[in-house]
């Protein structure tokens, strides 16, 4: 008949419909069938080569309840004649099916979802694994699904009693892992790739995705800089390998340039972390800090609309770790400090001290300006799909109120997302569209100032008097934080983001696919600030200028990609996959800024006295920037027998950030993998123990994290810079450049192994890496004599080594279901070269080091050697020059033994980047109940604390001591934690606190009970009666307990920002840590 075409097909476990499509592609045949009919078919396994159409059709209709007729070039599919079916059954006869579902050990599995295929009829198993369901068609199939187990589909063929055994999912091997520009099966991944699925982040009251990722993947280090709503967080993969920005490249749904923190965490399907060069090199020049690939949820084909709601509502309680001493005690301590400084007059008279004691303490200002605040997260999504298209639409709302008193403040974020796919023959379109609005309402001051101002006032002062006037005092002379928070105006951030992409995929042949992607992100951010005047009593005023500030900024990232992918298996055992692509990514931004002073007090509008603050005003050409990156990239992977793997990734990037001649860079990487347990001689091991895969990769990735146009020396005018005759004049500034600026390159070696034991119940993976980054883009040291600063040069080299491991174990007992996971990672870096050999910038009292041979930005200072205990020790000991120290003052190690403590006696201490970071979770289920406990922490970190937290009465700004400071030196307490008290300006104080020493360094190690969830899932029988497929209610708590070496601060707060800029030690300026208690609901309709 008709056409003599040869067909080659290799498909496993696919629907028959898919096979039809494949045949259609390879031949001229068309299919004619009824969809309903196909739903009764079972999955097809087929492997044919150059077979005739009849041959192929015979194979796939084998054992199916349907048959076919070839008419011309159309294949008509029809039901098999009744007689051909099982003899015991009558056609379309309802049947009441019952049965039991057991796990791999034969124990009853409760809560397994049982669904009649192609219908909405469903139930779930009871506590013993038993179920009963009415099936309209005795020839239908039942689908059994349970989390952690492979889905099982059983055709009834008229049976009314079933016994089903489910097997744990071969998750570690069969999981689809998102990699650069594609996906791979876990079994064939040979790079160091970690994938986090939505399950790991659900139920936690995370306000953003970065927060949700804390502790879920080894060496994916997430650090909080501040707990305030809307505050930035640090995201880092595998520690410090460069001297500037160490943030990974974030790619959302294949598009570079999205903001991970604008995503609704509930929309996330998977997060892949590409850690080694082998997996990341396809992102070439921006991959040296690792790549984080986020994919969002999509609908499924032939899926009825499913509506899911989940919501969380709770309270954030502000927690302060340090506390002031009572007012009278503080007064005594101040007098002691002053007396120790050789000053005769007291600060507080005995009468005053008695009065403080009699009157008792006032409320600490910190407690007075903070309060508990609500947090809500709501998310509603609809997911579904037809034969040719799928959809996922979601809306999300996050509302985290600020813990400050006064007019309502906080973060509100609105998310909308629509992910669609549609197939049209060989063409597949995917459209992703997401809109995020984020609104932050803030006070018009600085949180650090408000907090420290509140914290440093002793308890004998009040914020407000009985007449309602805001009070100033000798500590807060200008204004007080309550006045600023209640009446001082506001700052409002209103940010819109549209993220979208359109993908067209054309399947040319069974082995060749073409793909075009166009997408990007558009940001429109604005900030509006109004500062209001507040008068204080008896003196002081804030906001007297009635500043009105406006700033708005538009940013656009566009990304165009064309890809071709060739996938073919040769001789059944040679799998070849080749991907080649070209792309352009470009970024454009511009913004304007206007600041007016002396505006109308009520409306903030211009009046006669109003002036424009020229220095703060910018037109959009002044706030513009653009850059562009052209790339050619690809991946070739080969595997033999699913046993040996080899992969090559590369990218060839040209960037506008470098001049012609230095513009293009080539970034290759190679990986190999070996599944040892696939060898015949390992069969015994494979059957009895589990799988083992070995992996190794080596490659070079780059970094172009420098400002635009840095290779050109530029001149710019700015004003007003000076004046003549009381008239402003503008002036010229300049940016000197290094025209030879070029790519930073990181050579990374990685080896790893993946193990599984007990039929995948226990999986373990381990990776070690060694990375050497050279030509690091860093601002070189510039002698003052040069007269200006310089932009980034290729001026450094860093080695970063580390390891990480992840372990997970699942056990389903007769009563309890357990899941345990643990991940640990550690990194260690060393500066191998830094141009100019040494840089010791100050960070408050201490310094940090950029120097060959030491970890990047290690702290440097004097090393304490106890205290001078008596006058003899003072006179004999080495002291800083010019300081008349006393017994009870710090004694420092005189490293060079010259009798003087000076710059030649500096020691290098630890560094503030966390090491031995870990996360561990334990999940236990009992009937409908579940308990999730998640711990996270840091094993080693040198944390700098300073200011009031360390120095009593800090520089005379701080006027109260805190409880933890009471362990200070006295002759009776010679081994105290802190030196003796002495006033600012005295030699003792200068010696003890102004000469930076390890007094300011503390251990930042901690273990934190980050999240606890206790949930209950209603039995499906009950929830169905209520019209729901699933209902889970739970209680969730965040930051509940912290075990740490230092009790008086939150050890999680870091002094590094994401560019590893050290903003100085925690000095009591941090927003309180939030302890969350809330209630959550998860409903599927």
């Amino acid at each position: 008949t008709g056409y003599a075409q040869k067909i080659s097909l290799t498909e496993r476990n696919v629907t028959i419909e898919q096979v039809f499509k494949e045949i259609k592609k390879q031949s001229q045949y068309d299919f004619f069938y009824d969809l309903e009919m196909l739903q009764e078919t079972k999955p097809v396994n087929i492997s044919v080569k150059n077979a005739s159409i009849e041959n192929v059709l015979e194979k796939c209709f084998e054992g199916q309840p349907i048959t076919y007729v070839i008419e011309q070039n159309t294949i008509v599919v029809k039901r098999k004649p009744k007689g051909a079916q099982s003899l015991t059954s009558a056609a379309i006869i309802p049947v009441n099916v019952s049965g039991r579902v057991v796990d791999e050990k034969g124990a009853g599995l409760p809560g397994v979802s049982v669904r009649v295929k192609g219908t909405s009829a469903a139930t779930s198993t009871d506590i013993e694994g038993r179920f009963r369901i009415n099936v309209q068609d005795a020839n239908a199939s039942l689908v059994f699904t349970f989390i952690g187990y492979g889905t099982k589909e059983i055709p009834l063929r008229g049976q009314s009693s079933l016994s089903v055994q489910m097997q744990p999912e071969q998750k570690a091997l069969e999981e689809v892992v998102v990699v650069g520009y594609g996906t791979q099966r876990r079994s064939s991944v040979v790079g160091a790739v970690d994938q986090v699925t939505s399950a790991a982040i659900e139920g936690r009251p995370s306000v953003n995705t970065t927060q949700a990722l804390q502790g879920v993947s080894p060496n994916l280090v997430v650090q909080q800089r501040n707990s305030e709503p809307g505050a930035g967080m640090n995201l880092n993969v595998r520690g410090i390998s460069t001297m500037g920005n160490n943030s990974p490249l974030v790619v959302i749904d294949g598009i570079v340039g999205g903001d991970i923190n604008l995503l609704n965490p509930q929309d996330i399907e998977t997060v892949s972390v590409l850690k080694d060069a082998g997996s990341a090199a396809i992102y070439g020049s921006r991959a040296s800090n690792g790549v984080v690939l986020v994919t969002t949820k999509k609908g499924k084909k032939n899926m009825k609309p499913t509506v899911n709601y989940n919501g969380l509502a709770g309270v954030n309680d502000p927690k302060m770790f340090f506390k002031p001493v009572s007012a009278y005690e503080n007064a005594i301590l101040r007098n002691e400090s002053r007396a120790n400084s050789g000053l005769g007059s007291v600060v507080y008279t005995p009468e005053q001290i008695r009065t403080f004691k009699e009157q008792g303490d006032n409320e600490w200002f910190v407690d007075a300006i903070t309060q508990s605040a609500w947090q809500q997260n709501h998310n509603l999504s609809v997911t579904g799909g037809s034969e040719t298209s799928t959809y996922m639409v979601s809306v999300g709302y996050t509302d985290q109120a600020s813990n400050f008193v006064g007019p309502s403040k906080g973060l509100r974020r609105y998310n909308y997302r629509m992910n669609l796919t549609h197939e049209y023959g060989r063409l597949k379109f995917t459209s992703v569209l997401a809109y995020t609005k984020s609104d932050i309402r803030d006070h018009a001051s600085s949180t650090g100032t408000l907090m420290v101002d509140a914290a440093r006032v002793p308890l004998n002062y009040r914020l407000k008097d009985d007449e309602g006037r805001y009070l100033t005092n000798d500590v807060l002379q200008e204004f007080n934080p309550l006045g600023v928070l209640e009446k001082g105006g506001f700052r409002k951030y209103d940010n819109d983001n549209i993220f979208g992409s359109l993908t067209a995929e054309l399947k040319l042949t069974s082995f060749l696919k073409l793909k075009g992607v166009f997408g990007g992100s558009q940001y429109s951010n604005s900030q509006f600030e109004r500062v209001m005047k507040v008068n204080y009593f008896p003196a002081g005023v804030s906001g007297a200028d009635y500043n009105v500030n406006d700033e708005s900024r538009k940013l656009r990232d566009l990304n165009t990609q064309f890809l071709a992918q060739f996938t073919k298996t040769f001789n059944k055992s040679h799998d070849v996959d080749v991907l080649v692509g070209v792309s352009n990514e470009n970024h454009e931004e511009r913004g304007i800024k206007l600041q007016r002073r002396n505006t109308d007090p009520e409306l903030g509008t211009p009046v006669t006295e109003t002036i424009i603050n020229e220095a703060e005003t910018k037109n959009s050409n002044q706030g513009s920037g653009q850059n562009s990156l052209n790339s050619l990239f690809g991946r070739a992977s080969y595997s033999f027998d699913n046993k040996y793997y080899a992969e090559f990734n590369f990218r060839y990037d040209g960037s506008s950030k470098f001049r012609k001649g230095y513009r293009w860079g080539f970034f290759p990487a190679g990986s190999v993998g070996y599944r040892l347990t696939e060898e015949n001689f390992m069969q015994n091991y494979r059957d009895k123990v589990g799988d083992l895969k070995l992996r190794a990769s080596y490659g070079i990735v780059g970094n172009q994290n420098v400002g635009n146009f840095q290779y050109q020396t530029t001149f710019f005018t700015f004003g007003p810079a000076y004046g003549f005759n009381n008239e402003e004049v503008s002036a010229t500034g300049f940016n000197f450049a290094n025209p030879d600026l070029r790519w930073e390159r990181a050579a990374t070696f990685n080896i790893g192994a993946d193990f599984s034991f007990f039929k995948n119940a226990l999986t373990y993976s381990f990776d070690y890496f060694n990375k050497i980054t050279k030509d690091i883009l860093v601002k070189p040291q510039v002698p003052g004599v040069f007269g200006t600063t310089l932009p980034d040069f290729n001026a450094g080299k860093v080695r970063n080594q580390g390891w990480e491991m992840a372990l997970s174990y699942r056990h389903a007992g007769r009563v309890l279901r357990h899941t345990v996971s643990l991940n640990v990672g550690d990194t260690k870096n060393k500066v191998l070269y830094f141009e100019g050999t040494e840089n010791l910038p100050r960070v408050d009292e201490l310094r940090y080091l950029q120097m060959t041979g030491f970890p990047y930005r290690s702290y440097v200072g004097y090393k304490r050697d106890g205290y001078f205990q008596n006058i003899d020790e003072v006179s004999a000991g080495a002291k800083p020059s010019g300081l008349l120290v006393q017994p009870g003052d710090n004694r420092y190690v005189d490293a060079n033994g010259d009798g003087v403590i000076d710059d030649d006696d500096l020691f290098v201490f630890g560094n503030p980047f966390p090491r031995l970071t870990f996360g561990t979770s334990y999940n236990v289920g009992f009937k409908g109940f579940d308990l999730n406990v998640f711990f996270q922490g840091v094993g080693k970190r040198t944390m700098m604390l300073r200011g009031e937290l360390v120095e009593p009465f800090h520089v005379n700004y701080g006027r109260t001591m805190y409880e933890h400071q009471l362990d200070y030196w006295t002759p009776q307490n010679p081994d105290a934690r802190y030196p003796r008290l002495a006033d600012d300006g005295s030699a003792s104080n200068t010696n003890n606190f102004k000469r930076g020493s390890d007094l300011y360094l503390y251990s930042g190690a901690y273990l934190r009970l980050k999240n606890v969830q206790v949930g209950y899932t209603l039995p499906q029988a009950v929830s169905k009666k209520l019209g729901m497929q699933k209902l889970r209610a739970y209680l969730s708590g965040q930051n509940l307990f912290t075990w740490s070496a230092v009790k008086f601060v939150d050890p999680e707060l870091t002094e590094f920002d994401s560019s590893l800029k050290n903003s100085g030690g925690n000095s009591g300026r941090a927003y309180p840590t939030l302890v969350y208690y809330g209630f959550g609901l998860d409903v599927t309709f």
């Binding site: 007059s345 000076y722 009381n726 200006t788």
Partner: protein, 522 residues
């Protein structure tokens, strides 16, 4: 897709920038804007015996107490700030000839302005550090990492040569159009040269240089402004006494140091620096005698009565009648327990954030200030009174101070200050050269008090080890058993073997190993 060859929208490249005289002027403006740090102008006083800084503003207390080393941030700031200024001048000087169609006279003048500004920067560097790297053209980053310090004498010679060569290209102050007020003039270059020579004790040269401005109108016209108080008020900016000043613009380019210097009740938030009792003691009685002298009429319980009127225009003391911007007055209560108002804003209290000495600052308080005591008042770097004082000092060092010179200098200053008593005004032929030296030095101290110059004077006179040792005091509000009841504000120490030169900043030496260190600092 976007091209890879992109250009910034708001910046010129080196090739496109130097295309008009306005662009050259704009670069010159940059150099002007770097002429002097406001904070250093004020807080340098606290390095001397004139003032005390409780907060160690600009490192002043660390330096005054001798408790510093090469890592002190102020040292690096001082070093870096001046080389920044030098770079702006060098960029202008090496590129201005590229500007097409530029008027030669204008070009010559702008070059002269830049050279004077550059000389001023080198002068300050040399004064603090001694030997410093000296270069006349913009240097490369590589050169900056290996350059050596030039001997102080070479730097000095360069400064003097630059000033000499610039004078002819500069206009006189009388030739300056109104719109150009604030620019470098012939007079400014000459007066600066006089100061450089003064710091070298080249007395004969000081005399001859000062004479280019005294009784000589070839280089401009200068005279004492009739009112000492008015000299520092905004309505009298650009008066005949001003030779060189840092320019500010009311409302838009302002400085705010007074927020931490004025009495709290006058709108300050706290006090960062306060005049010392030692400064107050140096003001004479109206009869010309110092408080300690016999027959002075000084009464310890009423210490501010019948004093040099300049005291009142400089220092705020207990019972001070403070003139408010609106013309009314208020009394400043500083003595503990004296303020009838419960808030006691200005009262001295040990360990408080208010004055540490019992005094506040008045000179340069701007009645037209904006919020937070912001001011557009110009800060005078060189004024004619200084020229007169330099002249008198040099004449006396040459033993040539006669009555005519006295009348022309010290008497003129005292009359202008408001002295009328003959004992204060008239020359006394019985004074020895040594007596006169003390008188002139003291006159210089009070006339120029709180104008940032005292620290340079005590260093060049080599009296720092005397005046910067032991307790520095405040008013008589302390415990009676200590120093006669005068507040012990802080203790000071000066090592004459090392402190007369600052150390080269540590970081500079670690980047550039060719930089040597000053004696005593290794």
């Amino acid at each position: 897709c976007k091209d890879l060859e992109l250009a910034p929208e708001d910046q010129f490249t080196d090739l496109t920038y130097w295309n008009s005289p306005a662009k050259a002027q704009s670069m010159l403006n940059t150099a002007y804007s770097q002429i002097y740090s406001t904070d250093h102008f004020f807080y340098d006083e606290a390095m001397s015996d004139n003032a005390y800084s409780r907060t160690d503003a600009s490192g002043s207390n660390s330096i005054a107490t001798g408790a510093y080393d090469a890592s002190l941030a102020r040292l690096k700031d001082e070093w870096t700030d001046h080389y920044r200024g030098i770079k702006s001048c060098n960029l202008l000087l090496s590129n201005i000839d590229r500007v097409p169609d530029m008027d030669e006279a204008l070009k010559t003048r702008m070059k002269a302005e830049a050279r004077v500004l550059r000389a001023f920067q080198y002068f300050q560097l040399m004064t603090w550090f001694g030997d410093v790297p000296l270069f006349e053209k913009d240097i490369t980053i590589e050169e900056s990492r290996s350059i050596q310090r030039s001997p102080r004498a070479e730097v000095l010679a360069f400064i003097l040569k630059e000033l000499d060569e610039s004078v002819s290209g500069l206009p006189t102050n009388t030739a300056l159009s109104e719109a150009e007020r604030g620019r470098i003039t012939k007079g400014a270059a000459i007066a600066l040269k006089a100061r450089v020579l003064l710091y070298e004790s080249r007395w004969a040269d000081v005399v001859s240089t000062c004479e280019l401005l005294i009784n000589n109108t070839n280089n401009g016209s200068y005279s004492l402004f009739p009112s000492y108080e008015g000299l520092f008020l905004p309505q009298n900016e650009y008066n005949s006494e001003v030779i060189l000043d840092v320019q500010f613009v009311p409302l838009t380019r302002t400085w705010g140091t007074f927020f931490d210097l004025a009495p709290i009740s006058a709108g300050a938030r706290l006090n960062a620096m306060a005049p010392t009792q030692e400064l107050v003691n140096s003001y004479r009685m109206l009869n010309g005698k110092l408080p300690g002298e016999s027959g002075s009429g000084y009464v310890e319980s009423n210490p501010y009565n019948n004093r040099d009127p300049r005291l009142t225009y400089t220092v705020v003391y207990h019972g001070y009648t403070w003139k408010k911007p609106n013309g009314s007055t208020q009394t400043i209560y500083i003595k503990p327990g004296s303020d009838p108002n419960a808030a006691k804003l200005d009262e001295y209290a040990p360990g408080s954030s208010k004055t540490a000495t019992g005094y506040y600052l008045r000179k340069y308080f701007d009645p037209t200030h904006t919020t937070s005591l912001g001011s557009g008042l110009n800060l005078i770097l060189i004024r004619y009174a200084d020229v007169l004082l330099m002249y008198a000092e040099a004449k006396n060092e040459l033993a040539k101070l006669d009555e005519a010179t006295w009348n022309q200098t010290i008497k003129a200053l005292r009359s202008r200050a408001g002295f009328t008593d003959a004992g204060a005004l008239n020359y006394n032929s019985s004074w020895s050269q040594g007596d006169l030296k003390e008188i002139i030095r003291n006159e210089r101290r009070v006339e120029l008090a709180m104008e940032g110059l005292r620290i340079f004077d005590i260093r060049r006179w080599k009296i720092a080890e005397t005046v910067l040792n032991g307790w520095v005091h405040g008013a008589q509000f302390g415990p009676a058993n200590e120093d006669g009841g005068y507040i012990r504000a802080g203790q000071r120490s000066f090592d004459k073997n090392k402190h007369y030169l600052w150390p080269v900043p540590r970081e500079e030496r670690s980047i550039n190993p060719n930089l040597s260190q000053n004696p005593g600092w290794n």
